[in-house]
Symmetry: C2
Subunit: 362 residues, 2 copies
């Protein structure tokens, strides 16, 4: 038996979809109402398959279910690996009425979603995220894609899932480092627009690090709610949605420098949010106390506090120049006017930016 | 100076766009009203660049214009070549406000359009088709994509251009074989839903083969009008739009069998339409006279009448099984109830299909 703890809806007109959060969902929850054809292709990886594949298959009773198992890791988020999905779909003669199902973390969700966006010019897909980071962030909102050697997520599509099924029991097999990485995105929602949630996180961070079910279910629900609100208001990132990238411009530079997969995305975002907070302080937006509050919470989640060894401020400047938020060559960053109030700006003092970069490198 | 002969509009709500048909447009027509940012990337190939690149650049006065020149041919309509576009965009730091411009035939339009659909999850693009086939068909309607070794156009997206600029002067440099290939798609519009146009084509086919400007301008206009009507009614091929694939299921099988690029797409469609007409006759839908009329018109356009040497009926069956129109394993074909009245059916007599295949192989 399973227990649904929370449900919410991402409101996007005829592309609206539910997020179902609970325990014991994998193996028991019936996903067939979200599958229109007779075929399903589960996309998963070598780490997740032995743990959850059989249970995931059981969510599609009566359907013809195929599987493609990819190698695990951000460094495989590339065209060659994506093409393994297309190969399997075509070998097994999946029609454009097929449904893809992403079973795994953010890399699997992004790749399965992008494959669904492109296979025969678009087929439906469902998200079955198994990591904290994908449960609170990447499985919601329809951003899909792959990396390019010159930049992260540079090739992709907006393609919304039919449903997001979040089984919090899958977190019990997650390494502590990945729990911390997921908590970075959870903290982000507090920092960008939800002070009450920030206070709740300060009160519950130890329970979250220990993955206590009650606390983790609540944190996932409030994170998804925040993300759903922002995505509903601005699906294709014309404006508001960009605040979800707090810490991400610094973070993407770190990930690219370190080589995809050596830093977890959430780890880089954690350090990146510390840098964004530092720069917000230097720009006279937040107080020194606010900055310390942000740093303390990010630290308690177990996230790294320094840029990778050897990375210079010029490395940052060069890698940040290709960020997707940039317009006509101008660097755009997400900063905080105050805790819980993030915004996008193309107007930071270059000296302040340089000082922030120097503060976090060795 | 240039002369606009005809203009029409593809009605798709907030994705509507104009098609401008005329002479002397390349080099003179100002496309900057359809470019929102400061950057343009022209995607073209080695054959077209020496002929029209400088003139195409002149359509973007005041913009920063970069160019990526791809190898020419359907066999390069693959990921490796597509990635050359992404490489150049990232090397030149094109932001998500950039605009892509497709200068060339159907392969260039499909690849530039797909790159535009995917670069940073979607940027605008404009179509500057230089072949008859791309002017009457592939530049209109938003279908973009690349081939996969197991099937044509299997990876792609729907992504509408901002404008289609058709300079009929560019046809003067087109090899006769490509003129015939383009005429196959022109004839298709008459066969699927426009008997008056079919009659006009019977009266003007010799002028069209000779590329007489008056006749060719009219044929392009009426073809675009037909395509625009169908696409406006059914952008994502939920129903009606599938009739645009008359001859294409047979044709795609021929192209795949022959190896991409050995048969031109339009040539394969020409033979494929003969096969569809033959099967429509065997299924008791059209008369022997109608069938002969269709065959005669396709022949007069200079198109091939036989499947590639060595191709068997089993080759056809196997290659047609992966067609995108198929649903849950059932082969779906476009046939004619009557001349000018095409429809999609999953219900043909297997013996009739086999007889049609045998009729066209050696």
């Amino acid at each position: 038996m399973y227990q649904v703890r929370k449900e919410l809806n991402v409101e996007l007109g005829d592309r609206s979809y539910p997020i179902v959060i609970g325990q014991g969902l994998l193996g028991a929850y019936d996903l067939t109402p979200w599958v229109s054809g007779s075929q399903v292709m589960i996309v998963t990886n070598e780490t997740v398959a032995p743990l959850y594949l059989e249970r995931a298959k059981a969510c599609f009773p009566g359907k013809s279910v195929d599987v493609v198992t990819l190698p695990d890791g951000e460094k495989f988020k590339d065209w060659q690996t994506l093409n393994l999905i297309f190969d399997r779909l075509l070998e097994r003669r999946h029609s454009r009425k097929t449904t893809l199902a992403a079973l795994g973390g953010g890399v699997i969700g992004d790749m399965a979603g992008f494959a669904a966006a492109c296979y025969q010019r678009g087929v439906p897909f469902v998200q079955m995220p198994t990591t904290l980071l994908s449960q609170v962030d990447s499985s919601v909102g329809g951003k899909t894609g792959i990396n390019h050697p010159l930049g992260k997520n540079m090739v992709g599509a907006f393609h919304q899932p039919n449903i997001v099924l979040i089984d919090t029991d899958s977190l019990t097999t997650l390494p502590p480092r990945e729990v911390s990485a997921g908590l970075a995105e959870v903290i982000k929602y507090g920092l960008i627009r939800d002070v009450p949630f920030l206070e709740w996180l300060e009160a519950n961070m130890d329970a979250l690090v220990r993955l206590e079910p009650e606390a983790i279910g609540e944190a996932i629900f409030r994170s998804c709610q925040c993300k759903a609100d922002v995505v509903s208001a601005d699906e294709r990132e014309g404006g508001l949605r960009a605040i979800l990238n707090l810490g991400h411009t610094f973070g993407h530079a770190i990930e690219t420098y370190a080589g995809y997969g050596n830093w977890l995305h959430g780890e880089a975002v954690g350090t990146g949010m510390m840098m964004a907070s530092d720069l917000s302080l230097r720009e006279g937006m937040i107080s020194a106390d606010d900055h310390q509050r942000a740093l303390a919470l990010i630290r308690r989640a177990g996230l790294p506090e320094r840029a990778p060894k050897g990375m210079t401020s010029d490395d940052f400047m060069s890698l940040m120049a290709v960020d997707k938020k940039n317009v006509d060559g101008n660097l755009r960053l997400v900063l905080m006017r105050a805790l819980g109030d993030a915004f996008v700006t193309a107007d930071v003092q270059p000296d302040n930016l340089r000082k922030t970069l120097l503060e976090f490198i060795d």
